[in-house]
């Protein structure tokens, strides 16, 4: 078993929290993990990505080779597309539909969606909106993780435990908010994918 996941977004959007949940969950299942992340200049509002590799065997490269990612999970739709060369033939794209616009030449978001939909396996959800409804846009990343959970070969139990562990030094309210976000994302993704398979 080997799973390659690319997390993407804009510096400051919190993709490292998603990575930390994945890593912790994988280690708790006694799997090997490698997770390469971006520090430094790009964190100032630039494009950032994070490669997470999970396997039951030793992992060598910290970077995922092109064409080998099983999932690209993005907190921003244009940043999702930046990494599609990494996607394998049966790979999944999961993204927030909410664009983060901090450049003059940001494309029309409907064109972005069109481009994403060219890939057979995709989930586009308005995670930011969902997170706000739950109570805090900061949990957008957990909504997205929930949405992708069924694609990730880690048990839901270990993912939830990892979330609890990661936020253990915060208040109970924050923990339950994050868990709620996870379940909300999961539910909505299920509705979308059911719909897709019905067509």
């Amino acid at each position: 078993m080997k799973t390659n996941i690319i997390l993407s977004g804009v510096g400051g959007q919190g993709i490292l929290t998603i990575a930390a949940v994945l890593d912790t969950a994988a280690l708790s299942e006694n799997l090997f993990v490698k997770q390469s992340e971006v520090h430094g200049m790009s964190q100032r509002g630039g494009a950032v990505q994070c490669h997470v590799r999970i396997s039951d065997k030793q992992i060598f490269s910290d970077l995922i080779p092109e064409g080998k990612a099983d999932l690209i999970l993005s907190v921003e739709p244009m940043e999702l597309l930046r990494y599609t060369p990494f996607l394998n033939k049966y790979g999944w794209l999961v993204t927030d539909s909410h664009p983060f616009i901090n450049t003059d030449n940001y494309p029309d978001k409907n064109d972005l969606f069109k481009q994403i939909k060219k890939h057979p396996y995709h989930i586009i959800i308005n995670a930011t909106e969902i997170a706000k409804k739950i109570g805090n846009s900061k949990v957008t990343n957990m909504v997205l993780l929930g949405a992708a959970a069924s694609i990730i070969p880690l048990s839901e139990e270990s993912l939830l435990d990892a979330i609890k562990k990661l936020f253990q030094h915060k208040s109970d309210k924050i923990i339950s908010l994050n868990l709620k976000a996870f379940f909300e994302g999961k539910k909505i993704a299920k509705e979308i994918t059911n719909l897709a398979t019905n067509i």
């Binding site: 430094g40 509002g45 494009a47 490269s61 450049t103």
Partner: protein
């Protein structure tokens, strides 16, 4: 459960567990997390490991040498270009030798993710004639520190550990070892080797040169340099440091078809290389950085086309390695036909919303029509982003401190209205000496110290400049009438433009301190800084 650590953190924990007594460093991507980890470590605090930031890499390395002089184990950490700053002590302490174990960790940044060049620190290690260790993964980064300190004490030489961005900033599960006790103070038996007067230095240099044979012998027998010969003799691979991972990623289950020499310790084990060379029809050298090993191979075996690598174009000469470029060089099919969809536009980094640097640049930009658009000399820090659109204020960015001295040189040449923009911590790192040069000649330049009370670019570390800038400038000899302060806020725009216009008219050194804390600092941190400033004034 294993501990999940960044390569940098694994290395830091490895140092603590190897009996460290002090780490000295100036922040710089990709090396920063090593020192930060030790600063946060409870164990390190209990062990009273020194971990306060230094003013620059040179002072850091000299302090580490001082600690080593007393017999304790010291670590000094920097990014690759930081070693340029520290190169004076670096080159000389290999001649004097060390006492307590001294390890120099340098993190290179191939692909220049956060740097101005791709220099390869292995050349510095070779230049100083000391051992270089180059871990290939996080576990090795941890384990190698025990060995590095032991080796340093055994040889009485500093040891260079070379990291690269990708290893520094990638996490993996690490198994920890038992901790070695810290050294107790034991001053050198003979201090004359530390007094590098010519007669002592000559002796010491002879010793250093003669150690080379021992260093090579150690490399030959080191388990870090692992040679596996295959029954097939088509392809031999020399894989250095992290490059080994990219090789293994590609050959995976077919490993028995290749002969591989993994290199993680230098100087190179020549005998092992000869064995591999004799055994194989073709040798591919895979190394991160410059083609150092490849060049040496051409040297060993007279330049020939059996040796492949960066010089032959099989691997790109610039940029960091990745599994695809390495796979391609090994002749393994790479599935990389797809490209990024055209619709995707670039997203370069930019100053945070509400950053004081932006207001400062707006002030300067207001005067550009009067003074011309090529007069602003910049420096290293977040404000370097002022060179990019939409601001486009800053014209130069060369090294720490160069803003002031380049402005001075340009003014010497007759350029009017030369402006230097430098951050508070860059100023204390390498700007003060340049300012003295300018004061000494009263050069007609205007220096703006953009003081955000932090080393913001690398994650808001504490700046030693906090609360001291005015006194430093006055002490250096800036005339009190031309030492001004402004608050870079939009509401002060007109007033700030006027202030700058006036100082530009003055044909001597002016310093304007533009004061506003980085907006990323937490409220607590800002309070802390306020208290510190109050205590210093």
């Amino acid at each position: 459960m294993k501990s999940l650590l960044l390569g940098n953190e694994a290395l830091a924990q490895g140092s603590i567990d190897a009996g460290l007594s002090g780490v000295y460093a100036y922040p710089g991507t990709p090396s920063t997390e090593i020192t930060e980890y030790i600063q946060r470590s409870k164990l390190a605090r209990e062990l009273k490991i020194h971990a306060t930031w230094s003013v620059n890499e040179k002072t850091a390395m000299e302090s580490a040498l001082g600690m080593s002089y007393t017999g304790l184990r010291a670590l000094v950490v920097m990014k690759h270009v930081g070693l340029n700053v520290a190169s004076d002590v670096f080159m000389n302490m290999s001649v004097s030798g060390i006492n307590g174990g001294l390890v120099v960790v340098v993190a290179d940044d191939p692909s220049m993710h956060s740097s101005q060049n791709e220099q390869d620190s292995r050349f510095y290690g070779k230049f100083a004639m000391i051992p270089i260790l180059e871990p290939s993964n996080q576990q090795e980064a941890y384990d190698i520190m025990h060995y590095a300190f032991d080796l340093s004490e055994e040889l009485k030489l500093p040891v260079l550990v070379r990291m690269v961005t990708r290893l520094s900033h990638s996490r993996a599960g690490i198994e920890l070892r038992e901790r070695r006790a810290q050294n107790v103070m034991q001053l050198p038996t003979d201090t004359s080797r530390f007094a590098l007067l010519p007669m002592n230095a000559r002796k010491q240099f002879d010793k250093l040169v003669n150690k080379k044979a021992i260093l090579i012998k150690l490399s030959e027998s080191s388990s870090l340099n692992d040679l596996k010969l295959s029954q097939h003799n088509d392809v031999g691979i020399i894989a250095c440091g992290i490059a080994y991972n990219y090789v293994m990623e590609n050959i995976g289950d077919d490993v028995s078809f290749y002969s591989i020499l993994k290199i993680s310790q230098y100087p190179l084990p020549k005998e092992k290389i000869k064995k591999l060379y004799k055994h194989c029809d073709k040798i591919i050298v895979v190394e991160e950085g410059y083609p150092l090993v490849e060049e040496l191979l051409h040297d060993y075996f007279n330049k020939n086309d059996k040796i492949k690598g960066k010089l032959t174009g099989d691997i790109p000469l610039t940029g960091e390695l990745n599994p695809n470029t390495v796979g391609k060089s090994l002749g393994i099919f790479q599935n990389i036909s797809k490209s990024i969809p055209e619709i995707v536009s670039g997203r370069p980094p930019q100053l945070c919303e509400g950053c004081g640097h932006t207001d400062l640049f707006n002030t300067i930009n207001e005067l550009i029509p009067e003074i011309g658009n090529k007069n602003v000399f910049g420096d290293i820090g977040c404000y370097a982003l002022g060179a990019l659109p939409p601001l486009k204020t800053v014209n130069t960015l060369i090294d720490m401190g160069a803003s002031i001295t380049m402005a001075k040189g340009a003014a010497d040449a007759g350029l009017e209205n030369a402006i230097a923009v430098i951050g508070d911590s860059t100023f204390t790192h390498s700007g003060m000496t340049g300012l003295l040069d300018a004061v000494y000649e009263n050069s007609p330049i205007t220096v703006i110290i953009s003081d955000n009370s932090a080393i913001a670019m690398t994650g808001a570390q504490e700046s030693s400049a906090v609360g001291r800038l005015h006194k430093i400038c006055l002490g250096i000899g800036v005339h009190p009438d031309h030492l001004k302060t402004m608050i870079p806020l939009n509401k002060n725009h007109e007033q700030n433009v006027e202030l700058l216009r006036n100082e530009l008219k003055y044909k001597g050194v002016s310093v304007i301190i533009s004061e506003r804390p980085c907006v990323r600092l937490s409220r607590d941190k800002k309070e802390e800084i306020k208290a510190k400033i109050a205590s210093l004034s």
